[in-house]
């Protein structure tokens, strides 16, 4: 006969106001198997926990039921308390009298009766509980970082600096992401590439970082501490070991008319190319969609020009399998293209460009070496109109959310225009100026006060071409909605930041949640901002929502701290609530008949099989075997097993049936 203790908590007024707590404790005393019962105002407090500990010693209790709030809240607290008193943690159960009773019912006798029933269920369960020990799972002490923009770079460097191995996967041929495309950065106007490229070099030289560019995550399986990842390393057609980055091949390529994606389509590149001059790694890639050789024509000029014979036209994609303990998602964003705006010309007016294209014009490494020109005729624009909130905060045709970075970079763009061309006129149409951040509002005021940028509050209704000018029709809501018309040479849309292309597929491979817009969802918006909904997978940067560089770097370092905390342990303690196939004496060995239906049904690939052999090695029986490290305790196999050979520790059939029968 077991000796159980029942502890009923008032939770202040939370339970006490609707449930007669003293009555519950009194009635519990008479339940068979209960040796002690009492109530207390706050059991989770230190004195409350001490009461439980004292009672365990005083009454020689071998099991405890705490009737209090949800076990999600304080189960660990109470389990720790009973462990301190010498009991096994899993000999303590929580009856949820708050969420399941007092909060959802009125004060009444029937409410108290329900509370007593809830306690009775747990009493019957604890009677059948067996001591369980936590499962220790070894951790693979290395990390995978997906995305080689500033978020991924920062996270990878921080993890690598702490002494752990990092594998970095970048989809494009070079590191840097969008930050490498920017000209100057707000609010300091320091050169983006100048502060970024040293970090890119750090990544490539770091002894703890394995850099895989032009590669994508193909497949992910496993769980926290033990992920198995297949990475597709796409064929560059250039041998990375032989290539010296001399650039001879680039000069000889006869295909010169491929839109340069690094320059946002504003210039042309060859079929064999390095995205930009400071690219890391400085190894060219052959764009097989545009290379003559791959279009069935005769051409091997690049191969002939190569002094080290590094061009390999027969290179194939490679699948690289790695094992890591943690994953950081840092896949960034993309901007909404001009073709998404019907009233601004559907992308048909060449001089209506995106903010990212303006960055390329303003950048010294861009198509015009930093001179701001317009795409249609290459002339320097005199009047430029900037439209904030292009697609953002537009529930009808764009996205509902604020893209956050546009207010600041629009001020920067207008400022850069005025700095490069003193006679130019800059107009900004805005709805609100959102410039919260260190030195941010000062920066916007500087654009208005010192550089004379004209800010007009209102959205632009339409843009059309007339006599070589773009007519921008807006209204000034600060003048009571008075129509404003500006003849512009160029219009820059601060277009909305969207989840990067391929984000949805990657999220599915990783089993991480996304928000309604397609951004990676955080585990908790306030308290767990860099964790995803899957344990062991973290996030950093604009893949979560649009954010600027300082925020991204801060978040990347935070994600890295989480990863290093995880990797600093050699083992991970897991709850022992896993399924097990029973064993019996010979000749039965087990109720399992070896049908192995459970093997295919298991969502975590945790079930395999084992052969039971006699002394001479003859196989007597084949039975299912569950890997406790992989099992998540979902119970699918338990309900499926035809011979009831599988039981879930902590939730055995016997326990569940006893609970039901007690009612």
């Amino acid at each position: 006969m077991s000796r159980l203790g029942v502890f009923v908590c008032h939770c202040g007024e939370n339970i006490g106001a609707t449930v007669d707590v003293t009555e519950v404790a009194e009635r519990c005393k008479h339940m068979p198997g209960v040796a002690h019962a009492e109530d207390y105002k706050y059991l989770c407090s230190n004195p409350g926990q001490n009461k439980i500990k004292q009672a365990i010693e005083e009454h020689q209790l071998d099991g405890v039921v705490v009737a209090a709030c949800s076990p999600r809240m304080h189960e660990p607290t109470f389990r720790r308390a009973v462990t301190d008193a010498g009991l096994n943690a899993y000999m303590c159960e929580v009856a949820n009298l708050r969420e399941h009773c007092s909060w959802v019912h009125e004060k009444a006798d029937s409410t108290t009766e329900k509370a007593i029933d809830l306690v009775r269920l747990q009493v019957e369960k604890v009677k059948r509980n067996k001591p369980l020990d936590t499962i220790q799972v070894p951790i693979t002490r290395s990390a995978l970082v997906i995305g080689g923009g500033i978020a991924g770079i920062q996270a990878a460097l921080d993890i690598a600096d702490s002494g752990h191995k990092v594998i970095m996967v970048e989809r494009s041929p070079a590191l840097g992401g969008h930050m490498a495309q920017l000209s100057e950065t707000f609010p300091t106007l320091d050169c983006s590439q100048c502060i970024l490229t040293p970090r890119m070099v750090d990544v490539s030289r770091h002894p703890n970082i394995t850099l895989l560019t032009y590669s994508e995550v193909e497949h992910v399986e496993g769980f926290i501490g033990n992920f198995k990842v297949a990475i597709r390393k796409r064929a560059r057609m250039v041998d990375e070991d032989l290539c010296t980055g001399c650039g001879e091949c680039l000069q000889k390529c006869p295909t010169k008319n491929v839109a340069d994606s690094f320059n946002e389509g504003l210039s042309m590149r060859r079929a064999i190319y390095v995205p930009f001059a400071q690219a890391v790694p400085n190894i060219p890639v052959i764009d097989t969609e545009n290379c003559r050789k791959f279009q069935g024509k005769k051409c091997d000029r690049c191969a002939k020009a190569c002094p080290t014979k590094a061009i390999k036209f027969d290179q194939k994609d490679q699948i690289i399998n790695v094992e890591v303990g943690a994953i950081v998602v840092a896949t960034g964003y993309q901007v909404m293209g001009t073709e998404r705006f019907p009233e601004y010309g559907y992308g048909t007016y060449p001089d209506v460009i995106t903010g990212l294209q303006f960055e390329r014009y303003a950048s010294a490494s861009g198509p015009t070496q930093g001179v701001i020109k317009r795409p249609s005729d290459g002339k320097e624009p005199e009047t430029v109109v900037f439209l904030a909130c292009s697609g953002s905060r537009d529930a009808a045709k764009g996205v509902k959310y604020c893209s956050k970075i546009c207010c600041m970079y629009t001020a920067k763009h207008a400022m850069l225009l005025k700095h490069k061309n003193h006679h130019a006129k800059a107009y900004v149409f805005y709805m609100d100026i959102r410039s919260a951040g260190k030195n941010y509002d000062e920066f916007v005021r500087r654009a208005i006060e010192e550089d004379g940028v004209k800010y007009i509050r209102g959205r632009v209704s339409r843009i059309y071409e007339e006599d070589g000018k773009l007519i921008v029709k807006g209204a000034d809501t600060l003048l009571g909605g008075e129509p404003v018309e500006i003849k512009a040479d160029m219009v820059v849309l601060a277009s909305a930041a969207l989840p990067n292309h391929g984000q949805g597929e990657l999220a599915q491979k990783l089993h991480v949640g996304t928000d309604p817009y397609g951004f990676v969802a955080e585990a908790h918006p306030k308290l767990r901002p860099v964790e995803t909904t899957s344990a062991g997978i973290f996030l950093a940067g604009a893949c979560q929502s649009p954010r600027d560089i300082p925020e991204t770097v801060g978040q990347a370092s935070a994600a890295a701290a989480k990863v290093t905390a995880l990797l600093s342990r050699s083992h991970l303690a897991r709850e022992p609530l896993v399924a097990e196939v029973n064993r019996k004496p010979a000749p039965q060995f087990s109720d399992c008949t070896g049908c192995l239906l459970c093997e295919t049904a298991c969502p975590y690939q945790a079930i395999g099989h084992e052969e039971i052999k006699d002394r001479n090695g003859n196989v007597l029986k084949t039975v299912a075997k569950i890997n406790p490290g992989l099992c998540q305790g979902c119970g699918t196999c338990v309900s499926l097993c035809r011979t009831k050979a599988i039981d879930l520790h902590g939730y055995s059939n016997e326990q569940i049936f006893a609970e039901i029968m007690s009612l």
Partner: protein, 190 residues
């Protein structure tokens, strides 16, 4: 709950009536001004559409009256540019129609709206009688109502020469059904 939600707004306000009758939620307007920016007649309005909506958002009797007495609501052409471009999909033309009806109901319609009202009456009168529009009949009716007897006469003769205007009305067969329709929608007022 201490905060003011749309559940406990004052029920007599114009904004509330608009939501009830037209389904347009004026609190959704965030005053970006895109409607006024694209409006072909905004320049002629003493207050463009975004300001009309702003005044209604206050839900104050004084501002409601100012809107109903304004000429702006009569100038709207119902071209739907504002509605099709509105980031919050607010159906401003529908609101304008409602405001005109309300202004007439309350006897607050702007003096300059007389012609517009006369046209509406002449148009609907013709449709009520014949089941479809009889242009010449409607024009005559309009001219008598407004006194603009010789306006657009040259245009009228050109239209007639091109066969755009018929002397006699071509009514629909089931006039009783049309009568029933009008009775149901207007409550037998017109």
């Amino acid at each position: 709950m201490s905060s003011i939600s749309h559940h406990d707004r004052q029920t007599t306000s114009l904004a509330n009536k608009i939501q009830e009758v037209t389904g347009v939620a004026l609190q959704n307007c965030y005053q970006c001004g895109k409607c006024a920016a694209g409006c072909p007649v905004a320049g002629d309005m003493e207050m463009p559409s975004c300001q009309v909506l702003r005044l209604l958002q206050y839900e104050s009797p004084d501002y409601d009256r100012r809107v109903l007495e304004s000429e702006s609501i009569w100038l709207c052409l119902s071209c739907d540019t504002c509605h099709s471009r509105c980031p919050q999909t607010i159906n401003t033309p529908k609101v304008m129609y409602f405001l005109r009806e309300e202004a007439v109901r309350q006897g607050l319609a702007h003096p300059k709206s007389k012609d517009a009202q006369a046209f509406h009456k002449a148009f609907l009168g013709s449709v009520a009688r014949h089941g479809r529009l009889h242009e010449i009949g409607m024009l005559m009716n309009y001219k008598v109502r407004t006194g603009h007897l010789f306006q657009d006469m040259t245009l009228g003769s050109k239209l007639y020469q091109k066969g755009k205007l018929e002397l006699l009305p071509h009514g629909v067969k089931d006039k009783a059904a049309v009568k029933k329709l009008f009775k149901r929608t207007t409550g037998n007022k017109e």
